[in-house]
Amino acid sequence: MSESNPAPTRSSYRVVLLGDQGVGKSSISLRFLRDEFHEHNAPTIGAAYLTQTLKVGDKTVKLDLWDTAGQERFASLAPMYYRTAQGAIVVYDVCSKASFVRARDWVKELKTQAPAGTIVMLCGNKIDIPDGREVSIEDGVQMARDKGLIFAEVSAKSGQGVKSIFQAIAEKIVAKDSHSANSAPPQDKGIRLSSNEKASSGCRCSSQQTA
């Protein structure tokens, strides 16, 4: 568990979800989980840590989804969660301007504090609410373009777009990982064999995606 060696095995990746309380972080990951394998997953009450496998190219990867506390009083704790993550999804509520402003702060914080190379995604939730929108899709696209993030809008309630955000971030992480695995010397010393884990995979996602 030493922090000097935080990288998990290369087929398992950590993705943290950041955002204000109430924007639906855990609903998004729960939706992702339930849509994929209803029959295997007994309804769970614990939503702070979830795990799901998905296919990226010909490779099966495991995503560990870490929910973070969104309340202001826990704001200082977030770095502990994203410090060892390969990806971060910053979630805001399209019906709450305040949550969008907060999302901007999260993105800024990640850019300065998270390890270089963390894939960051911006995600607007609750697009199923017809009249409540306070943040336009253009605002979201604009912020994503400015900061160089993947962007998507989803509805955790209807499930719209949920799977594709995880697919997109997984592809981006895998692509980055295979790239760095090919160029950098292997970190693991000792006995671990990992030569077969460098399976290459195409990355189909662009830096900006709209739902």
């Binding site: 729960l30 614990g46 309340q71 009083r73 826990f74 704790l77 010393k189 006995i191």
Partner: protein
């Protein structure tokens, strides 16, 4: 013999006797022969033939007591029942001489109301009938590839490989060398960690050289071995290393200890625990209170995970009860989307930590964080998440001023005792249920036993504290009414500590149930 009846219902040989070989079956019944039924998992349908039937229907030898003969029409074979009646030994006529264990026995009656016996065997008498699936091999492999947790399991596992003897000897020397000659310094704990890591890595590399094909290419086995080596080493050096860590972090640990007192006076909702999740979590508290008694980082980490699991379980149960008791239109009832997020988990954890009163939590987390190296992230990321959540909860506790929130009456120790009562009752219920179901006995019982012991230890500590707290400034009479046997100077600690590990859970329950009628404050759950 409920299990045996079930076994007979599904047993392919017993079924075959009632269908294909019904004539032989009836003959056996008529003559009151002994029916020996190898258990279902040891046989397959296609090996059952007349030879199989004849081999497993036995008649007593007319010559020797405890000797039986198969019912072959010619060349019958002989077996001997052991004196204690626990197994048969094959002899004359069998392809090899072996002991076959008896798993159970049934009495049955034939048409003339005469008794005959049906015996369940572990496996067929003749090894030629044994199924050749790699079942047992698989079991051995599964065992080999399962992570070992406790120090004893790790040590036994390493010692189970005869080839490792020499390496373990060298390892012991290295450990002894570290203990005798290496000075662990507070500001150079990283150096101590890297030295110990080197010892573990080297040993693991050496050990894997001795593995024979195909085991040597099994990455999972290497991980299990590496973990076992690590636990073996860390157990040996724990006292030396942990003393320095806890001295290094004594200030932080002390700060936390004072925080616990403040937090225990605060209502859970003030820390941010949602009303519907606000419930006593005695099992989680007891689990976590055990943290300091564990010696290896891995055991400690698993303890953190169990605490989180117990929280989730406890909250789920309490929610279920809430749903059942509440009005149909109540907000909680029937809401499938209700779930514990990190915003919920951290404050709940804070209340559990404060109640468990871990005296060296900072040191424990540091120890887990810095002295665990092997495959820490592999397939066990939930462990990683639990560690981070604990660290987050501790940081939150350190950063937050709870004194301004303090509103609860000073009855937290009583509440702890009440929680223990709940824990004991829960455990008792589980133990009783288990003994009824005869399920999964030993390991489960051991675990329950351990948990009961932990409660005893925890109670001891709490009662001590209660005594110290109340001495002089509180009404002793009130205490006497609650703890008739525990308030006089010498009785409190001793009477609890006398509850040896053998003490039955029922007794502990009685002791605690005396507390039930007293008016405790209940800062969890039901307050408005």
């Amino acid at each position: 013999m409920a299990n045996d009846i079930d076994e007979l219902e599904i047993n392919p040989f017993y079924k075959a006797l009632q269908s294909r070989y019904v004539d032989l079956y009836e003959k056996a019944q008529k003559n009151c022969h002994l029916l020996c039924i190898p258990q279902t998992t040891s046989i397959s349908t296609h090996i059952i033939n007349t030879d199989f039937v004849d081999t497993h229907v036995l008649r007593p030898s007319p010559y020797f007591k405890d000797q039986y003969m198969t019912t072959h029409s010619s060349n019958c074979k002989t077996l001997t029942l052991s004196d204690n009646g626990l197994y048969f030994t094959t002899s004359q006529g069998f392809s090899d001489i072996r002991d076959v264990k008896i798993l159970g026995e049934e009495l049955a009656y034939n048409k003339e109301y005469k008794q005959y016996k049906i015996i369940i065997l572990e496996e067929p008498f003749d090894s030629k009938f044994k199924i050749q699936t790699p079942q047992s091999k698989e079991d051995a492999n599964t065992h080999m590839l399962t992570s070992k947790l406790t120090v004893k399991e790790c040590t036994d596992f390493l010692q189970s490989f005869p080839d490792f003897k020499e390496i373990l000897h060298t390892l012991n020397q290295k450990i002894q060398n570290f203990i005798n000659h290496y000075m662990v310094l507070e500001n150079y704990l990283d150096d101590a960690a890297s030295r110990l890591q080197d010892i573990c890595t080297q040993t693991t590399v050496e050990i894997t050289k001795y593995l024979k094909a195909p085991l040597n290419s099994n990455i999972k086995l290497r991980d299990v071995l590496a973990e076992a080596v690590e636990s073996y080493v860390m157990n040996a050096v724990h006292d030396k290393v942990f003393a320095v860590i806890s001295s290094h972090l004594s200030k932080q640990d002390q700060t936390l200890l004072t925080k616990y007192q403040h937090i225990n006076k605060v209502r859970p909702d003030q820390i941010g625990v949602r009303r519907e999740f606000s419930c006593p979590l005695p099992m989680a508290v007891v689990e976590l209170a055990n943290l300091s008694s564990l010696r290896t980082p891995r055991e400690k980490l698993v303890c953190l995970k169990s605490t989180v699991d117990n929280i989730t379980e406890g909250v789920a149960v309490s929610l279920q009860e809430l749903t059942q008791n509440s009005e149909p239109d109540a907000s909680v009832a029937g809401n499938p989307e209700i779930c514990i997020t990190s915003d919920d988990l951290i404050p709940i954890l804070v209340t559990v930590i404060a109640k468990a009163k871990c005296s060296h939590l900072n040191s424990d987390l540091f120890y887990v964080d810095h002295f665990m190296w092997t495959s820490a992230d592999r397939d066990r990321d939930d462990l990683g998440f639990c560690l981070v959540t604990f660290k987050a909860a501790v940081q939150y506790m350190v950063e937050t001023d709870f004194t301004s929130m303090a509103t609860c009456l000073d009855k937290e120790l009583m509440t702890n005792l009440e929680d223990m009562l709940t824990a004991t009752t829960l455990l008792e219920a589980q133990v009783t249920q288990e003994s009824v179901e005869k399920s999964n006995t030993k390991s489960m019982r051991d675990r329950r036993e351990r948990q009961l012991n932990r409660i005893t230890g925890f109670l001891e500590k709490t009662v001590q504290e209660l005594k110290t707290n109340r001495n002089g400034n509180e009404k002793p009479k009130h205490l006497q009414s609650i703890f008739p046997d525990l308030v006089t100077p010498h009785s409190s600690a001793t009477s609890v500590s006398n509850q040896s590990s053998q003490r039955s859970s029922a007794n502990l329950g009685d002791f605690l149930s005396a507390l039930q009628d007293d008016e405790f404050d209940q800062p969890f759950g039901k307050q408005t």
